[in-house]
Amino acid sequence: MRQLDVRGLRKRYGDLEVLAGIDLEIEQGECFGLLGPNGAGKTTTLRLCLGLTDPDGGDITMLGHPVPAQARAARARIGVVPQMDNLDPDFTVRENLLVYARYFGLRPRDMAQRLPALLDFAGLAGRADTKIQTLSGGMKRRLTLARALVNDPDVIFLDEPTTGLDPQARHVIWERLRQLLNQGKTIVLTTHFMDEAERLCHRIAIMDRGRIIAQGTPRELIERHIEPQVVEVYGDGADAWVRSHRDALAQRCETSGETVFCYAADATGLVQALDRQNTVRYLHRPANLEDVFLKLTGRELRD
């Protein structure tokens, strides 16, 4: 079943075209990732799908409701984890969930029954009466995720869910998101972490300058857009070494900082050549989503 259908979505702020015609089709049970450099239009896309901003063109159908016309009805069945935590600092953990449930018109009595399960899910079972200020970053994120579930939503939007978390906390979030997918929920997330997208997402759209420039499963994107093997050459003289060997051994090389990335269908020759010398060091690995991302969106900084 189609959960989200977006056609020709456009949005401009003054002279800046933030979205220049986006198409998305997201099915039930899918985890869909929106990737892109800062300013690519990821957050704007989420805001438009929630009906918080009106588009300048295009159509959005969210859970069968046209958005923004029936955005409220759509939002009743959506959960949102925003980029910045906006838990209510005046309330405890429990109160945050109860008060938020009220915005969905849920009765406190019904909510009280679901509360233990939500606290468990957030790993905050013993902390129902803790003040928000004393929670760690990971706990706050988990509580924000639990808060997004108070209405038992069909679709969950997560805007950079693990930014700023330590590796342990990130793994916990990933595990929770997989639990939600197993329950049949649909997830739409934006992220800057390629490993996160590769691990969680069934399908990915890479956005840049308001357009979707590539779309597919992580594996498809890697197969379609990049040579399968990568050799990272680094250390003093890496650039010079690669320059003298590249034509014979690699299909394509890119320099970023002090590292040269060499892409090849078969890197055996290159690796053998590298093994025969001891001035530069190297790392041989299969191509990943980050290589695709950098190839498609470039290596220059986006501020």
Binding site: L50, T53, R75, L87, R102, Y103
Partner: protein, 261 residues
């Protein structure tokens, strides 16, 4: 957004969710908050009322402290609604992003802004009522007519809540509110008949004061507290209701412009 920017806000019971959220937070700090709201107006009313009152024979046929009591009910209403709509409202809108969180639920920005306005008016009602209760205990408001102050205070609170939310929706930071207090709130305290009859002022200032909401609140409150039906009830009520409606509408439009683009 242009399409919806100026459309008239739709009233929905959902604004009570927002009202209730603020009420739950307030309940945790109710005692200090009430004392804080009450202390300042009381000091002025009693200090000036009895201190200055000892040197002033009678104002408009009543003791100065009785004269001042009605003004204090109104000015305290104005201050409470303004503070709540600006400092607390701005915290929830901009700093804590509470509004943003609420908007991800099936609640609209209209609901949020109007909920905030009604909340600030409710808090103003509480503080106006507290001043009135103290005045009554001191024998300064013994007529049952004084109960009519409650709706007057609520509408006055709504008007100042709306004006405060307009400033909040325009404000880049907390410092901005100082301008409003210095340029709007404090002058109103002086030209609207809180401390002395408006007739003491030069004619042009009296005429200017006639356009200000606090003038009309005081014009209703003072006779009611002294067992008299106010003159020109209709026009005074109309001005207060007009301020409340226009200011709340403007606050919604400005909040849409700030947050929904």
């Amino acid at each position: 957004m242009q399409r919806h920017l100026f459309s008239f806000p739709r009233l929905s019971a959902r604004l009570l969710h927002v009202w209730r959220r603020n009420g739950l937070v307030w309940r945790k700090l109710a005692i200090p908050s009430m004392l804080g709201n009450l202390a300042d107006p009381m000091l002025y009313m009693l200090g000036l009322g009895y201190g200055l009152g000892a040197m002033v024979p009678e104002v408009r046929g009543m003791s100065y402290v009785a004269f001042l009591a009605a003004g204090t009910v109104c000015s305290s209403t104005m201050n409470t609604a303004s503070f709540e709509a600006m400092y607390s409202g701005f915290s929830r809108m901009h700093v804590q992003k509470t509004w943003e969180a609420i908007l991800n639920a099936p609640v609209t920005l209209d609901d949020v802004v109007l909920g905030e306005a009604v909340w600030a008016a409710s808090k103003a009602l509480l503080s106006g009522t507290a001043v009135l209760a103290v005045a009554a205990a001191l024998g300064l408001a013994q007529s049952p007519l004084a109960l009519w102050l409650l709706p007057v205070v609520f509408v006055t609170g709504l008007a100042f809540a709306g004006l405060g939310l307009v400033i909040t929706a325009l404000s880049p930071g907390y410092d901005f509110f100082m301008y409003y207090f210095t340029l709007v709130v404090t002058p109103m305290m002086l030209v609207c008949g809180v401390f002395f009859p408006r007739e003491q002022l030069p004619l042009w200032l009296q005429q200017f004061g006639a356009f200000l909401p606090l003038t009309h609140a005081v014009a209703l409150a003072r006779p009611l507290m002294n067992d008299t039906l106010p003159a020109d009830i209709g026009p005074h009520v109309l001005v207060l209701v007009g301020y409340a409606v226009v200011a709340c509408y403007a606050a919604v439009v400005l909040a849409r412009r700030r947050l929904l683009n």
